[in-house]
């Protein structure tokens, strides 16, 4: 068995309010593919950023071929032969393939001029090694398929003579054909002795490609690194989710009433593909899935931000057409977006103005804004949601995250919606405010509101939902009622573990 080419020992990294990595040890050997698994927020990204030098660890050590090293920045990391390919490709679309490959370290003539001939020759040589001779090195990257762009990225990494290649969800945006080609490239690199760190959300890829696998959860390594040949999908899923549900959720079971929202074969672009579901009065439906599964995109289609290209939406049984947020609002739909600062708030406006923004039309008197009515409205919601602000005239930028989130909620509750879509309603807010928002959601459901809650936090999904919908690759792949919805079942559906394994998981989860 070969020696580790790079080894992390006891790495820790803290960000304000969160321990992203806690005493993590991890190593990669020459000529192996090492898969890194974990839920959203498990610490995978932080780990690879420490490997490449983008972040500095607070504690622990990195060893390169047995010698301790520090990697102060990514430039230095590249010099040591550590390169990463991220899910979001970072190419310059208007520059040629060769220029992209040698960006920042082009072969030069005297005086620093670019040696074009040599650059293109070397680019061709690298692409040849990747079995990608068909790529014309002088054409611009714009217009290449995603798969080809990714090959350019890999060539870029190899042009630095990378011995350690980190791939972050490389297949997320690829077609089946491109995936096969990518796998061939990865295997070829492995034969050449490159150490590959492979991050993925697709469990089957682990078994197709990887030699060893490490699971991260809440910033720690779960158990130890395993040989892929000695594990199973079920075991990996269990390792990823095996967290205790320690957060208390004040869930009151729903008394579902009439169907208020019905979605049939809804499609938009590549992100929303034939989505079907219903939402009843008085119930909270959790929408689970991995980041990039198309949950927020689905919400935006329903809310008319990106109107549906085909399919049907029914509100109270009546087919409707929703072409803009205003039309969605008129139908009694409200959408509390995920990104409160960029999509939810007018940071430099005050609590009163933010609360009233979506219902200004109702606050007019003789055609002009009635400030007294606006005041009453804002006051009502500040009291109902217990928004802690020194006054209604406070700019929302000065409020805490939890109170800002309540202001966004207030704005949408003021529209008196029948259907409330909440996108990550408690992300980044403190525990107290979180519990208050959960209580509020229950109260609203009790009053008959239908709530669709998108969340990446499994405990929140399981704790709050009457039903759970799981999305993967733009469509709903599972619907689980409260009793069926276990962490394992949700994760298995979200990651696309096959049916056989799901039943296996369901049976094992009974006897942990």
């Amino acid at each position: 068995m070969s020696e580790p080419v790079i080894e992390l020992r006891g790495i820790s990294k803290r960000f304000p309010g969160v321990q992203a990595l806690d005493n993590v040890s991890f190593d990669v050997r020459e000529g192996e593919v090492h898969a890194l698994l974990g839920e959203n927020g498990a610490g995978k990204s932080t780990l690879i950023k420490i490997l490449t030098g983008a972040y500095q660890a607070d504690g622990g050590q990195i060893f390169l071929r047995g010698k301790p090293v520090t990697i102060p920045d990514t430039r230095h990391g590249l010099k040591l032969g550590i390169a990463a390919i991220y899910q979001e490709l970072s190419l310059y679309p208007d520059l040629s393939v060769a220029e992209n490959i040698f960006m920042g370290h082009h072969p030069s003539l005297r005086g620093g001029l670019v040696n074009w001939r040599q650059m293109e020759q070397r680019a061709r040589a690298i692409l040849h090694e990747l079995d990608a001779d068909d790529l014309d090195v002088s054409r611009p990257v714009r217009g290449l398929s995603v798969g080809n762009q990714q090959r350019v990225e890999i060539a870029k990494a190899l042009s630095h003579d990378a011995r350690i290649l980190i791939m972050d969800e490389p297949t997320a945006a690829l077609t089946k054909h491109d995936v096969d080609q990518l796998f061939a490239i990865v295997r070829r690199l492995r034969e050449r002795g490159v150490a590959v760190v492979y991050i993925t959300h697709r469990l089957e890829e682990v078994f197709l490609l990887a030699d060893r696998v490490t699971v991260l959860r809440d910033g720690r390594v779960v158990g130890e690194t395993l040989d892929v040949s000695k594990t199973s999908q079920a075991e990996l899923i269990r390792m990823m989710v095996g967290r205790t549900l320690d957060t208390l959720f004040p869930k009151t079971p729903a008394q579902p009433g009439e169907v208020v929202l019905e979605v049939r074969n809804l499609c938009y672009g590549r992100t929303t593909r034939k989505v079907n579901f219903i939402l009843r009065q008085g119930e909270i439906v959790g929408l689970a899935g991995l980041v990039g599964a198309g949950r927020s995109e689905l919400a935006q289609v329903i809310f008319g931000v990106t109107p549906a290209e085909s399919g049907e939406i029914r509100v109270n049984g009546r087919p409707v057409s929703i072409r803009s947020p205003r039309e969605a609002m008129a139908l009694g739909i409200a959408y509390v977006p995920e990104d409160r600062k960029n999509q939810g708030l007018l940071l430099r406006m005050n609590v009163r103005e933010n609360t009233a923004l979506a219902v200004l039309r109702q606050l007019l008197r003789y055609g002009f804004i009635d400030y007294a009515a606006e005041d009453r409205l804002a006051k009502e919601y500040v009291e109902q949601l217990q928004i802690r602000t020194p006054s209604l005239l406070q700019q929302v930028v000065n409020l805490s995250g939890g109170n800002q989130q309540k202001v966004v909620l207030a704005k949408w509750l003021a529209t008196k919606p029948k259907v409330l879509i909440l996108d990550e309603p408690t992300r980044g807010i403190d525990v107290g405010a979180k519990a208050e928002i959960h209580r509020l959601m229950n109260a609203l459901a009790q009053q008959g509101m239908a709530i669709l809650m998108i969340s990446s936090e499994l405990p929140e999904i399981l704790g709050m939902s009457d039903r759970v919908l799981v999305m993967r690759q733009g469509t709903i792949v599972a619907e689980l009622d409260r009793a069926q919805a276990t962490q394992e079942a949700v994760v298995a559906a979200a990651m696309g573990a096959d049916e056989l394994h799901m039943t296996l998981v369901a049976s094992t989860s009974l006897n942990p």
Binding site: P325, E353, L357, I369, V397, N398
Partner: protein
């Protein structure tokens, strides 16, 4: 309000007392400048001189009211100088050719509205950045104006044309217009739904759109209103002098944008008031007059004006950085 027993609550953020309203700063600056200059040269305090400053500011301030709406919405219009030239020429040509003066004035205002609509359509619907659209418009209008007029001055205007040289109830007409426009725009921005929408779109277009506001409508609207107000400013300007030159309004855009920005209208959009913009315009005019009284070279004037703009924007940017 009674305090529930909840000791875990985070402390309330305290309101920032040091954030002083831009308007009060401007009033203080204007008063201080008046005091200083009059100590050196008491003639500065003369009523006629003070009214002069107000008259010379009026047409700038009227356009600054429109510019406030444009900048608050997150846009900019640098074509206002050329538009002023075109509108002034239209009013003058019509009046010289025996069109009744009120009609000639109305034509200038409407022409401004049409040019503003072209700007607005290109920004809102063709989605070209405002700086590019209005830069193009600046050149087209100025070039076109000189082509059409052949660079000739418009003279021998009828007596009724000189609206700006007259007074009503002892106050020069341009000052009346300035005050009325400022009040109307202030009221609109504060009390009309669309006024609020301008702030919302400039502050966060995405959030505004999700709240059911149509940002494109808002962009189009602010350019149209700005055009109308530039037309009105052109009337004030044209009727002030005995002749209208074809280079009328050159550099006007700088005066208007300076006044607006110094008045605390954030160049990044989303905040600012018309009152501030008018006061900012007044301050800049006053500095100009003060320079004359103090016998300071006019070249200093431009430097001071530029320095004021940078200072105001710097304060705004720093304030925002503190917040996020």
């Amino acid at each position: 309000m009674s305090t529930p027993a909840a000791p875990t609550l985070p402390p309330l953020p305290r309101p920032r007392r040091w954030v002083v309203q831009q308007e009060s700063v401007l009033v203080a600056a204007i008063l201080a400048l008046t005091l200083c200059v009059s100590l050196v040269n008491p003639d500065f305090l003369n009523t006629s001189n003070l009214l002069d400053i107000a008259v010379n500011t009026a047409y700038i301030a009227v356009a600054a009211a429109g510019m406030t709406m444009v900048i608050v919405s997150g846009n900019i219009d640098i074509s206002v100088g050329s538009m002023l030239g075109v509108c002034a020429t239209i009013a003058g040509e019509l009046a010289r050719n025996d069109v009744p003066v009120p009609l000639a004035f109305a034509a200038a205002v409407i022409a401004g509205g049409i040019m503003g609509a072209v700007n607005g359509a290109l920004v809102a619907y063709a989605r070209i950045p405002a700086i590019v659209v209005t830069l193009g418009m600046l050149s087209i209008l100025r070039g076109g104006l000189i082509l059409v007029t052949q660079g000739r001055w418009i003279e021998s205007l009828p007596q009724a044309f000189f609206f700006s040289q007259r007074s009503t109830l002892g106050i020069p007409n341009p000052v009346w217009v300035m005050v009325i426009v400022a009040l109307l725009v202030w009221f609109f921005m504060r009390y009309h739904r669309l006024g609020r929408a301008i702030y919302a779109v400039g502050g966060n277009a995405e959030a505004a759109r999700l709240a059911g506001i149509n940002p494109r409508q808002v962009h189009f609207f602010v350019f149209v209103v700005n055009g109308l107000l530039v037309g009105l400013a052109a009337v004030l300007y044209a009727s002030k002098f005995t002749a209208i030159q074809s280079n009328a309004g050159q550099g006007f855009e700088l005066a208007v944008i300076s006044g607006t920005v110094v008045g605390g209208v954030s160049i990044l959009g989303g905040t600012g008031t018309v009152l501030g913009a008018v006061l900012g315009s007044l301050l800049i005019s006053q500095i100009g007059t003060a320079a004359v009284f103090l016998k300071v070279s006019p070249f200093w004037l431009q430097a001071v004006q530029g320095g004021l703009i940078l200072l105001t924007v710097l304060v705004d940017v720093l304030r925002r950085r503190r917040m996020t």
